[in-house]
């Protein structure tokens, strides 16, 4: 389910408020995993596939994998 964060690439980039992918998501889909101190895609099924998280990611850690319902 989109988006997918590659944690090997993610550098946990933080702006003044939080992770860039999280802050730029218009739907509050990406949130902060406080235990692991990294972003987490909490509500993939509510994603609009707008691409904002990927556009905002400085290290190219985000890709999209569409669910079967969009591909059948």
């Amino acid at each position: 389910m989109p988006p997918v964060i590659d944690y090997k690439k993610c550098c946990s980039c933080v702006t003044y408020e939080g992770f860039q992918c999280e802050m730029h998501c218009p739907g509050d889909i990406i949130q902060t995993d406080t235990a692991k101190k990294r972003p987490v895609v909490s509500y993939p099924e509510e994603c609009w596939h707008c691409g904002n998280c990927r556009i905002s990611c400085p290290v190219g850690a985000i890709s999209y994998v569409f669910p079967a319902s969009m591909l059948v």
């Binding site: 989109p2 408020e17 939080g18 802050m23 730029h24 998501c25 218009p26 739907g27 509050d28 949130q31 909490s42 509500y43 099924e45 509510e46 994603c47 609009w48 596939h49 707008c50 691409g51 904002n52 990927r54 556009i55 905002s56 890709s63 999209y64 994998v65 569409f66 319902s69 969009m70 591909l71 059948v72």
Partner: protein, 552 residues
Amino acid sequence: MTKLELNKLAPHVTETDVLILGAGAAGCLAAIGAREQGAEVTIVEKGQIDSSGCCGGGQDHFAAHLNTGPDWDSDEAATNFYAGPGWGAGRRLVEKAFTTVVGPMVKRMEDMGIDFYKTEDGQYWRTQALGTPGPWHMMMKDGVHVKRKMAEKVRQAGANVIEHVMVTRLLINNGRVAGAVGFNIKNGELYIFRGKIVVLAMGAHQSRWSTNSTDNPFNIWQSPYNTGTQLVVAYEAGAKVVNLEKCVATTMPKGFGAPAMNAFAGMGGFMVNVLGEKFMEKYHALGEKAPRGYHISGQRQEEAEGRVPFYVDVRHISESDLKHLEKNLLTVDKNTFSDYLKQRGIDLSKDLLEVELGEYSGGGNIWVDENLESNLKGLFALPFSGMLSTAMCGGLVAGSEAAKAALRVKKLPEVRVGDVVKEKARIFQPLKRDTGYTPKEFEDLIRQVMKSYMGYNRSVKGLETALERLTQLEDLASEIRADNLHEVLRANEAVHLLKYCQLMVKAVMERKGARGFYRITDYARTDIELRAKHIALFQENGKQKVSYEPLD
């Protein structure tokens, strides 16, 4: 009530001349317009202004007439195109909020760093689509960052930007608007906004009540994060809301909530049915370049006659045009378009792309006078929208008019503390419940009703039933539960969505005829007299009222 006293109720109390709610293209330009007039501005947004709204992930086309000589490129042509029942605005407002503004807006965009593709002889490269009388569609270079560039200008202009706050209610006092209430979706803190003037810019399309073949209400064309707040808060505060019965849909790639037809049509693509026949010219002389409504009615007819599914064919266009289409248009308009093509295994140079009729998108805007002020004193809005250019131009004029009005207001209107206390309790009430409906379960009920009675074929009896069922849901709304702040956000969105749907159904009933991409069995023809009027819904002393406003 002093700021200190209000602070006890909410940690954030903001006072400003012009309060702009919503920071899509319209809200951003409203902020710029208001700052240029010298007013203090606060702009409030549920997301982050660099990426929020319909154009947040990028945009490929900017539709503008440029007065270069031909009739189709003139002010007259532009006003004729937008004025009337189709877009739902009168001539005077179209002239004021669009026709005279869009030329300078192109220059303004270039100053923001938004450039356009040009032809070899240095003219703007423009294509024709969606029924425009000529090639009005200018194509933006680096359209991916168009919203980020607007946002940068808003910050540079000195607006106070408040992000990740969902607005839930307008505050009124003594018959005028006095501010708004909202909460931060990340930390749950309450915000009270006080403004001399308020501009509403929380979106032109509301679609989460309808789904396409995937049945996922978030996988849709227009932003799923607009759930009717724009219309609902205005209505509840006493403003007249119009154009609620307008309803659009679009042709979209199979299973992928994305617009594409303007780019495909602009670059010479066409639709074929299952027999491989081009069919659009049967329904409109402009073929694929016809207004969106004809795409829909054409496909409906082909479907009724059994010639489904449909495909878009661009295999015949030149290699360079195809590259431009994929790289600079489709993937800019919806950033994940090429991911979709890849994962579906489609190569546009060799394959047909299957398309389908997407979900419905509901309309509606606030009725405004010639100064873009609503019947509720102090409340401003743009008169019509639906495209990037109309949103930016209408927003700029609304912001500018709002600022002029704000500078004439001596004293900041008071807000009633009781209203804030009540709203705070209402916003967070779902957190207090352990049982009840999740926001998704509740929204599914709304969609179930809408799917049954507000689809393509509608009848008066069906609309009455829809209203009845939606009223039943109103009683269940107090049973929505939320386990965290994200669910509080969705719960509040669901409540607005329900109210929006009720207003929409009521407006469709009052129109006594179809207005958009549906039909009503009981009315073969739209009432001609009503066609030339706005149907306005508003509240007076807690009672719903309907009025007919001239569309002039």
